[in-house]
Symmetry: C2
Subunit: 230 residues, 2 copies
């Protein structure tokens, strides 16, 4: 007898619940009210849904005074959502949305790292420069790549302490190609944001790149200039 996946799938299969899960792919913790707005439902409906998602371990909840903050319950859940997004996006018969948001395709947060055309462009450039090695869809950091990132400021000692993979290929749903996940993928996104080269949109996963940030990304990662344009 294998695990019964239908409960899990059915849990995600409700439109309101799936919209809330997608919103939480931003990696942020959102309140119940924020999530009800995301899903365009009343707070009482959201409350009922969120209770289910917490009971069945897809979300974790933290109380802060009267606020209830919800987050995805870790990386496996994010991976599952991204896999669903990827399969959905690659199967035209399942896609009934109109033209997708160009900003979202350009650059967006994929849980804790950068996705979209920009994320893929950085990945490709790093591979072309011998920083990463992509062999049969397996991604690893080269020795040169390690030195490259040390120069950029990465603390590999701290990163090694985590069981988190350094490089992990993450199939980008909008580009259908690989962007970088893992510890280094996360570092790249955080670095970009901390330097002010881009900002996260307040209520979506979009990452807007500034004009100076564009130049900096071209220079830093060797991406094509057209990829960093707004």
């Amino acid at each position: 007898m294998e695990p019964d996946i239908s409960d899990l799938a059915r849990l995600i299969g409700d439109p309101a619940r799936s919209r809330m899960l997608i919103a939480l792919m931003s990696g942020k913790a959102l309140t119940a009210t924020e999530l009800s707005l995301e899903a365009d439902i009343t707070p009482q409906t959201a409350s009922s849904h969120l209770s289910k998602l917490v009971t069945q371990d897809l979300l974790v909840m933290r109380k802060q005074g009267r606020h209830r903050y919800f987050q995805l319950n870790g990386y496996p859940v994010a991976e599952l959502i991204e896999t669903l997004l990827s399969v959905t996006a690659s199967q035209p018969n399942l896609t009934k949305t109109g033209p997708s948001d160009p900003d979202l395709r350009q650059a967006r947060v994929c849980y804790d790292h950068l996705g979209g055309a920009l994320g893929v462009g950085i990945y490709d450039s790093l591979v072309a420069r011998g920083v990463l090695e992509d062999r049969h869809a397996i991604t690893r950091l080269t020795d040169d790549g390690e030195r490259y990132f040390i120069r950029l400021g990465v603390d590999f000692d701290a990163m090694s302490r985590s069981r988190r993979p350094l490089c992990k290929s993450c199939l980008d749903w909008s580009e259908r190609r690989t962007h970088l996940a893992g510890g280094l993928g996360q570092w790249i996104l955080n670095d970009l944001l901390m330097r002010g080269w881009g900002q996260r949109a307040p209520n979506s996963r979009v990452v807007h790149i500034t004009a100076p940030g564009r130049k900096a990304l071209v220079e830093r990662y060797g991406i094509e200039a057209s990829l960093a344009s707004a």
Copy 2:
């Protein structure tokens, strides 16, 4: 606007449909009648469900006379199902099944490669022997490993012609650890079956290992003897 994953999830979220999808994780093509027996529903209900699964690209169908053979629509779908299995198995609040089938945990087909304790045991042993390198959950074949598999009879030229990754880590739902997927994972399963060291159970994903097969696996892959016992 992101892809709407709720349709896909809801499609899998029906108990009868999920049972059929799991049955097809054996990698075999099954007829509509066989699938209706798997799901314990009438043929007419199965027909209705299968039509949906084909229309929405989760399954492909081939007619042979009066027989309709259904298969999973490729590796991304298998990956999605295995991810669902893994998340389900790791979340006790979602698991309401009784003790799992020990044969299924021992050795089973995961789409086209070997999973279960045996699959994980082979993986661990290959890592310990320097055939595979598992670094931060990324799996790659070492140079020694390439020679090792050439000696075993692997044709890497033929395998390189496929875009299929050589080694891919696949998270095993019963062991919660990695077994080997990709071209080499597939080769190992096929080799084992062709040599008669084990046989597939007729109506499940279980792989039964013969007594001589046990010895051979211990010798060939250096697994612990206890792992190959029935």
